[in-house]
Symmetry: C2
Subunit: 501 residues, 2 copies
């Protein structure tokens, strides 16, 4: 009998249903176990570098494997290498939120498998995103100038989902450069941000070719900060004046609401005032773009009591925050709004023949012109599900529970004479360090804090990360914003910190 | 009674299971209906610009909504605005593949909710990606120099998942620039690609600041093509010589395997030979980076009969292709390999204190240094599932069925005297146009082809897109690579084309 060539068959609907239900069950069980029995799951993976790589064969299988074997390997090979970001005791970095409605949105997006690069390639993918970005913009108190509003294809502003705040910063820099070029500036652009800003600002400037490399202090000015680690407007004014005098072109100022290190907050109103004053006396110089990076803190703006964060926002050119950090939406989802979408589109748009179509010509929104990638998935589905399933009041309650827990932790640490709460707590991050003993050198005190940090992570019931402040102090960051983190977990974390101190 | 403040509650496990099963069922039913009753689903959405936007309220709901109401609105508000990329009669643009195992991988990635930015933040996310990129690299015939191999943390080469080929091109340009800067070149960089290359090459050059704008022909040289629409090596040599003589710095050559317009194939071997010859006589000039964009065509390389496409690949610096186009993996998933990962990492790496950790210091792989975004999801899961569920022989059978169907369509069109098969078919794209009648002007023939194109899409049983060739001929592109597209659908498409012609 002659051998038949291998056939191609899709996973059958029955098999997809069975495997899909099992995957849903797996996720539900994983989340349940993290919540109800957190101590059963050590947070950080303890595999050694190379272990997992070595446990996988060097080449892909030639023949189809049964789904059961694949599913078994999730447990055998993958789970031991997972660090559990959804564990309620995970207080490291910034949270990476998740939730049922969000995962269902990601699933639907994957299942529909549409490309949202153009309005015409799936109108719902574009228009739901436009509307949901308006929803979220209104929910966090952005002025109407950043929204689509009721004439969505003609508004000067609007929002878009980018992958990450890094990509948002890059988009802002590229838009700013295009606008400056049209105003006649062509070289020696300078980006300003604080010494405490996220590294992605410098990285974006390098990627965009504005800075030569990560150490190019001429083209990325890291502005001094005040005692609360906020950008000093007077220092910003001085640096801009120096650059203008030297013939350089101030291109973009990236203000941060909630720095990664300590959630320090730059004052938008004062920064905008510096721009106004400086460029009033330099009418020929193009006005720099003011970009606001609220990657983590933006979520708090759903609560009116945090609106002080964005005082002055009406003077900014763009603003971004990441619902994938602290707003119950799984990665990736950075929401980016601009008051000057024409600048962004002018800088990013290129239309080959094979993408031309009647709807684009008629002036719809083609989101491929709002960022680097051409293709895009239907990410607004997950935001739509999250906003509707929890409602704004549910999201506010969620944020407030974390902030209350942070207040509690701060109070407990302040009440313990062995600890300092080192930086001003602005929202859900508490930065603590061991208090130097009388006569103890800063280095020795740092060493004790570092040892405590490592001991906490070695015990592996909570996970915290560190930063080093200007001046050199080593501090433990306790970032309270995990999807499943409630006040009780924060109290347990304090008990672990206190007892190991 | 005092009013209680709103509480926050997660979707319960029971509710997540029920809604999750229903979502799996919805996707299974959608795929089944597209396959078994394609004529029940008109392919392109017919909504008008603004319809969906207007159908959604202007603000997010204040209170939680029941999940049933949300699920109902998927049908009521979203599905009418979907253009069905997974419909077997979708032959537009390039395919955007999907499959059961891939969607399950996306679902698991979302459910686990880990951040793969550093090795330490989830070792499995990094090491599975490393291994699966090696699997896929071997499967498509990449030389070992592009792989991690058996000393994965020390190899000079390796692979990474980027979002899209646009982001891969940007990464290549930034890596190339860093390498050229270290060799002493600092300005007036030039990128070379063919007139038929994807617009993302020019866009990436603009984003990177290498080109001033999309029309900067000094810094993005669009090289002439031959009669098969492949880059002319002699024209490339001439442009490079002109730039070297003028003191400009040839930075990067982007060769295309399978152009978007017509799947034309640049000859890597001949392009590498041009670089060798030119820079042998300019030993002081840094050698330009050779990037290979095989975004769509790379999938075909799983079949040995397509390996001619990458003759000369051992001379390239980087190579990318998108399993999300034609390899059963849902968007986004661009696989990018480089022989010089140090150049990429040197250009992209920046390490603030809050990301420092012992594993990074010990020389593991931190993928955040391989691209613009810092955060990253666990995308290798879906590739791992696809490769194991189908096996390489299954993937080959899948590709071969599409190529056979394209051969059949080509033969049918050639046998019909009303049609021309306008460009050389290299794989799964057939470019057809109506043959000019005796004495008919090219414009009139184009108008008839365009009318046929629009009539086909108006009937909405198949969807095709067009391109315009150098010289001005309007052609209909029939891209045969949909997840559910089998030979029978291609025969039905030909019947539609033939009968409307």
């Amino acid at each position: 009998m002659e051998q038949q060539p291998p056939r191609f068959d899709h996973m059958s609907p029955e098999q997809f249903r069975a495997a899909g239900y099992a995957m849903i069950d797996r996720i539900a069980a994983y989340w349940e176990s993290l919540q109800s029995r957190p101590d059963d799951t050590p947070i950080a993976s303890r595999v050694k570098p190379g272990d997992i790589f070595a446990s996988l064969p060097p080449a892909a299988p030639e023949h189809q494997e049964p789904w059961d074997a694949i599913a078994r390997d999730i447990d055998a090979l993958i789970m031991p290498g997972i660090t559990h970001w959804q564990h309620p005791g995970f207080f490291g970095f910034f949270p990476a939120n998740n939730s049922g409605p969000s995962v269902l949105g990601e699933l639907l997006s994957a299942g529909l498998g549409v490309q949202g690069m153009l309005w015409a390639t799936s109108p719902a993918a574009t228009e739901l995103e436009m509307r949901v970005l308006d929803w979220l913009g209104r929910a966090i108190g952005l002025p109407e100038s950043f929204l689509f509003g009721e004439r969505p294809f003609e508004s000067p502003g609007g929002g878009v989902i980018q992958g990450t705040a890094s990509e948002a910063a890059l988009a802002a820099i590229v838009a700013a450069r295009g606008r400056a070029q049209r105003a006649g500036a062509h070289a020696d652009f300078v980006v300003y941000t604080s010494t405490q800003a996220h590294s992605s600002i410098t990285k974006s400037a390098v990627v965009a070719g504005v800075a030569r490399d990560m150490n190019d202090a001429t083209h990325v000015r890291l502005i001094d900060v005040d005692e609360d680690l906020a950008m000093r407007p007077d220092a910003l004014a001085r640096e801009i004046a120096i650059d203008l005098a030297a013939g350089r072109v101030p291109l973009l100022i990236a203000a941060t609401l909630g720095t990664t290190s300590t959630t320090a907050v730059d004052n938008l109103h004062d920064i905008a005032a510096v721009i106004d004053r400086t460029f009033a006396s330099h009418p020929a110089a193009p006005r720099p773009w003011l970009h606001v990076d609220a990657a983590h803190a933006g979520a708090a703006l759903v609560c009116p009591e945090f609106r002080w964060l964005i005082r002055g926002i009406e003077r900014a050119d763009s603003f971004c925050f990441n619902p994938h950090k602290w707003l119950l939406t799984n990665f990736d989802c950075d929401c980016f709004w601009t008051r000057d979408r024409a600048a962004l589109i002018n800088a990013m748009s290129i239309t080959p023949e094979y993408l031309r179509n009647a709807a684009s010509s008629a002036g719809t929104i083609d989101y491929r012109d709002w960022h680097v990638p051409l293709g895009r998935r239907f990410r607004s589905l997950k935001l739509w599900f999250v906003l509707r399933h929890y409602g704004l009041e549910g999201l506010r309650a969620y944020i407030r529970e974390h902030v209350r827990a942070a207040e509690t932790l701060e109070a407990l640490a302040r009440a313990d004479a062995r600890f300092d709460v080192v930086t001003k707590r602005t929202m859900n991050l508490v930065c603590i360090a061991l208090r130097p003993r009388p006569g103890e050198s800063p280095e020795d005190a740092n060493a004790r804090t570092k040892a405590l940090h490592h001991a906490l992570n070695a015990a592996n019931r909570i996970l915290v990360t560190h930063t080093i402040l200007p001046g050199g102090r080593y501090v433990i960051r306790v970032a309270i914003g995990g999807s499943f983190t409630r006040e009780a977990h924060v109290l347990a974390a304090w008990e672990a910190i206190r007892s190991l101190a």
